[in-house]
Amino acid sequence: MKMTKLTCLILFSLALTLPVRIAAAGDGKTIIEKNNCGTCHKMEGPAAKTFAEALSRKAPDLFYAGSKFQEEFLVEFSQKPYQIRPAGTLYLNHVKTVDGVDRIQDPPLCASRLSKEDAVLASKYLMTLKDPDMKIGVYKPGASFFKIGAKMIFTKSVACIGCHQVKKRGKIVGGTSGSSLYNAGSRLNGDWLSSYIRNPHYWDPMSPMPKWDLGEHAWMQLTNYIMEMKE
């Protein structure tokens, strides 16, 4: 009898929170629509598959935002955006040859300036947009790894640093065509990162990122190394 009461109480509590959760995600969707996020971001798949489609992309796809990002990052970013990709979503759209040298021409910043309340609701909704096929639990936070080896992969053998910015003794170094990685660990979902670096074209067929053939151990080292980059 006691168990029945307890079960009822639990079910009642769940029933109370469920509509709130659904309402939160629903409200978030409305906020995203009202703020015209879909003007720049693709909120539904598929991703760009042709060069022309890739060129027309103004901002990263968000239809798998829940797989890609950490919720806390989305809450902060949607209130106060900053430039993650120094040369914009696709550098080709923001680079000009000036005096024989290619230079980045002020890529636009995300226009989102949500209030904290809206940012929380919008992020809650974005976190529901997931790729059901992404493997979960691949990245093990805090797992020990050979940092020197991982750094060698990052800077030498795969040379990610050629296109991605990182921080070295407080200074920003690295290429500007890719997304900056110095806060990747507080921005990205480790499982998504692990999947993306193995096969970027699964997520974005027109990604300018090459595809490397590394062993499982090296992929895990690289994932851990990048996920340790936090601000």
């Binding site: 080709l92 040859t97 050629g162």
Partner: protein, 121 residues
């Protein structure tokens, strides 16, 4: 007659399905160059791409005939497909064979020859 119809159906299906691959391979070599190569080698192939300033090894200047003439087409293909490390050059030049098809890489070799306005020796 039935056999012939079946063959036609299978052929049509194969042709149709090949068009549904994840990437439409109608892209020209110039577009591929802009997307995959220009960030290092520059939009015009002069080696002055936006990623160059932080690179320890300068990217190949593709519009330099004097340098490009020294390379065989087969070597350019190998480096493009398998990356710089495959020919003991810098790993900053990544392998593109999983991204561009064999035909696209062959077209890329031709495009590089257009950029340098040169042929192999």
């Amino acid at each position: 007659m039935k056999k012939r119809s079946a063959l036609i159906i299978i052929f049509t299906l194969i042709v149709g399905l090949s068009g549904l691959s994840s990437k439409t391979f109608a892209e020209t070599a110039k577009n591929n160059y802009r997307l995959y190569c220009s960030q290092c080698h520059g939009l015009t192939g002069n080696g002055e791409g936006i990623d160059k300033p932080t690179m320890g090894v300068a990217p190949k200047i593709h519009n330099n005939a004097e340098e490009m003439i020294k390379l065989k087409d087969a070597d350019i293909y190998t480096v493009t497909a398998q990356g710089g490390a495959s020919v003991t050059k810098s790993a900053l030049m990544p392998p593109w064979e999983g991204v561009m098809s064999e035909a696209e890489i062959k077209d890329m070799v031709k495009y590089l020859r257009e950029l340098c306005n040169c042929t192999e020796k």
